[in-house]
């Protein structure tokens, strides 16, 4: 595959940004500085970045409750994101959404979503609008293994297939729906099998390998842009934190399983590839990591210094 060097470097930087962003969130949560809850994306970076590296800001993505990584991958700014997570006025949603509703419609990011499966029909609607307007834009719907037990998912996939809409259903199968392991919440092992019921391609890919994700999803995107309809790509991946919060999830996941998946961490893996292929030198990679660290540090400082909304803001934006 011929991915220009600049793109590869950007992909690496985006993955590192997500990881460091989430580690920053974890630290803020440990310090009890983040109100409410947050679902961390660390471990799944190869999926979000692999997919979004193929999209422009005219393309749409519908995200999940685990949405920080998707927004960063789509070009989101950590400053506005941290500010939102801390409930501050300059946050992406002026402090009214928080982690579970972070969104940037200007980037085509239709929102994290606190309701499992709800993003699927919304992505179908965005794809419908893209075709209606005669644009070649596509919509990517991110969802987890758990969401494929929701009626909304099946209704959306059926409608997208029926109308041959430019949607790519990207399953981030991290083996758990909340705390319930996949074999205890559905009888299929591969979510991709569900595509067959809707007469669309269902492809499985190693979700810890960004190049594999990019290649497979790239074919699905091309198919969608050609007008040949939707696909389902199942990315086998793993979350490094617990379902919610900063724990490691060891109460519900076997130690060997966690160790096995952590050994497949997508970031060192891609880093090694970039160095082996002489795309980056060790020093350049370290430089990127340092640059990201500085950016994250600055973003956290910005957010912590940012003002809270005031009660005057309570009733604004209920209606247009």
């Amino acid at each position: 595959m011929d991915i220009p060097k600049d793109n590869l470097v950007q992909m690496y930087e985006a993955m590192v940004t997500i990881r460091q962003f989430e580690e920053g969130v974890a630290k803020l949560m440990r310090d009890a500085k983040i109100p409410g809850v947050a679902h961390l994306y660390a471990g799944e970076e190869a999926v979000g970045v692999g997919v979004c590296s193929l999209l422009t800001k005219d393309d749409y993505i519908a995200s999940t409750h685990r949405g920080h990584g998707h927004l960063i991958a789509k070009g989101g700014d950590p400053k506005g994101m941290y500010a939102e997570l801390l409930g501050r006025s300059p946050g992406y949603c002026h402090g009214k959404g928080g982690s579970m509703h972070i969104a940037d419609l200007d980037l085509g990011m239709l929102g994290a979503n606190g309701i499992v499966g709800a993003g699927a029909p919304i992505a179908v609607g965005a794809a419908f609008a893209a075709r209606y307007k005669g644009s070649s834009a596509v919509a990517v719907c991110f969802f987890g293994d758990g969401a494929t037990n929701e009626g909304a998912f099946h209704e959306a996939v059926n409608l997208a297939a029926l109308l041959k809409l430019p949607v790519i259903f990207v399953c981030e199968n991290n083996l758990y729906g909340e705390w319930t392991r996949q074999d205890r919440h559905q009888t299929v092992r591969d979510v991709a099998e569900r595509a067959e019921a809707y007469n669309m391609p269902g492809i499985i890919v190693d979700g810890m390998d960004i190049l594999a994700v990019r290649q497979t999803v790239g074919q699905a995107i091309e198919r969608a842009r050609r007008g040949d309809g939707p696909s389902l790509v199942e990315c086998k991946t793993y979350r490094f934190f617990d379902h919610q919060g900063v724990g490691d999830g060891a109460a519900d996941r076997p130690a060997e399983e966690m160790a096995e998946w952590k050994a497949r961490d997508p970031i060192p893996r891609f880093r090694s590839y970039l160095i082996e292929t002489e795309t980056l030198t060790e020093a350049e990679a370290a430089q990127i990591e340092q640059r990201v660290a500085t950016r994250i540090e600055g973003a956290i400082a910005f957010a912590e210094a940012a003002p809270f909304p005031t009660p005057d803001d309570l009733l604004t934006d209920v209606y247009a």
Partner: protein, 326 residues
């Protein structure tokens, strides 16, 4: 003025808005091929299947399609055949379309109309006859519209389509074939403005949707007994034009609120409470609500007839609170 029936007024509003604005499209079950109530008849032939989209029986997908398309710049009119079916897809209403603008800090604009048929009287039993507007009025971010006349059906639908917020547009089945004066040209009836259907001085009757007609019949009966009722049709139940209602109550000092939905926790309770809060000193009798009893809509004709509010029940509510006229 030209006369037409309520359902044709809705068809005309859809036609004219689709002609005016290419971003307006319709999606729903059988809206193109075989419209269930005939409301969208002829629209697919005129605008094509890309703009009049027949969907599977998938209410969540229909509303999700509307939410995503609206977020991406279109102006969808989604049809949920019977409002009872909102039970299948409430998430897209309660958690998605109603909240996205607020949750996203004002950055989303969701100009969506969800049309649905409401109300009983056709022996369709418990899952095809409900009036669930109170459920929707309880959700900030939604507007809820209940036209009672052909004129309002057209003008309110045009306003709803042009509105930048999600609007639930509830059409009463008993109104579909009612005739009335309807201008041929497009016009707007503003959302959130009540209409005084009949002026009166002795008692205010606030009635919604089809109950407006029952209230007017009740007012005629009361007039024969010397009681002049003022009948107010809020037209939109959210936003609710309390100013018009309060002004009337301050004049008549008595009020009966009527809706077809069950009385318990209905919109009538909200209206009565606001009157008690804001016009207590004007009242010469406690506000009274007329609504359906607390049970599902029954099937058997004598049971459904007993269930539904009507002119006689309104008269029976008004008489005890009004002083006898000589």
């Amino acid at each position: 003025m030209r006369q037409t029936i309520y359902m044709m007024a809705i068809n005309e509003a859809l036609t004219q808005e689709m002609e005016r604005d290419p971003t307006v499209f319709i999606a729903g079950e059988d809206v193109g091929q075989h419209p269930a109530f005939g409301i969208t008849l002829g629209l697919r032939a005129k605008f094509g299947p890309e703009r009049v989209v027949d969907t599977p029986i998938s209410e969540t997908a229909i509303l999700g399609l509307a939410v995503g398309a609206a977020a991406a710049g279109l102006r969808p009119v989604a049809e949920i055949m019977f409002m009872d079916f909102l039970g299948v897809c409430l998430d897209q209403i309660i958690n998605q379309m109603a909240k996205m603008r607020y949750m996203f800090g004002g950055k989303a604009r969701l100009p969506i109309v969800v049309r649905a048929a409401c109300g009983g009287g056709y022996r369709l039993a418990a899952q095809h006859s409900q009036s669930l507007e109170a459920l929707l009025c309880h959700i900030p971010g939604l507007k809820v519209v209940m036209p009672a006349t052909p004129y309002d059906a057209k003008g309110l639908l045009i306003s709803s389509i042009r509105d930048d917020n999600p609007v639930i547009f509830l059409e009463h089945k008993k109104c579909y074939t009612m005739p009335g004066e309807v201008p041929e040209e497009p016009y707007e009836v503003p959302l959130g403005v009540a209409e005084v259907r009949r002026p009166g001085s002795d008692v205010t009757i606030v009635a919604t949707s089809y109950m407006v007609h029952e209230a007017l019949r009740a007012a005629d009966q009361l007039a024969q007994q010397g009681i002049e009722a003022e009948v107010i049709d809020p037209r939109t139940v959210s936003p609710l034009d309390m100013d018009t209602i309060l002004a009337s109550v301050r004049k008549t000092h008595r009020v009966v609120v009527v809706h077809e939905a069950v009385k318990f926790c209905g919109i009538g309770g909200e209206i009565a409470a606001q009157i008690a809060e804001d016009a207590f000193s004007s009242l010469e009798a406690a506000p009274v609500r007329v609504g359906a009893p607390f049970c599902p809509v029954p099937f058997s004709p004598p049971l459904e007839d007993a269930y539904l509010p009507n002119a006689q029940k309104i008269v029976d509510a008004v008489l005890p609170m009004t002083p006898a006229k000589v």
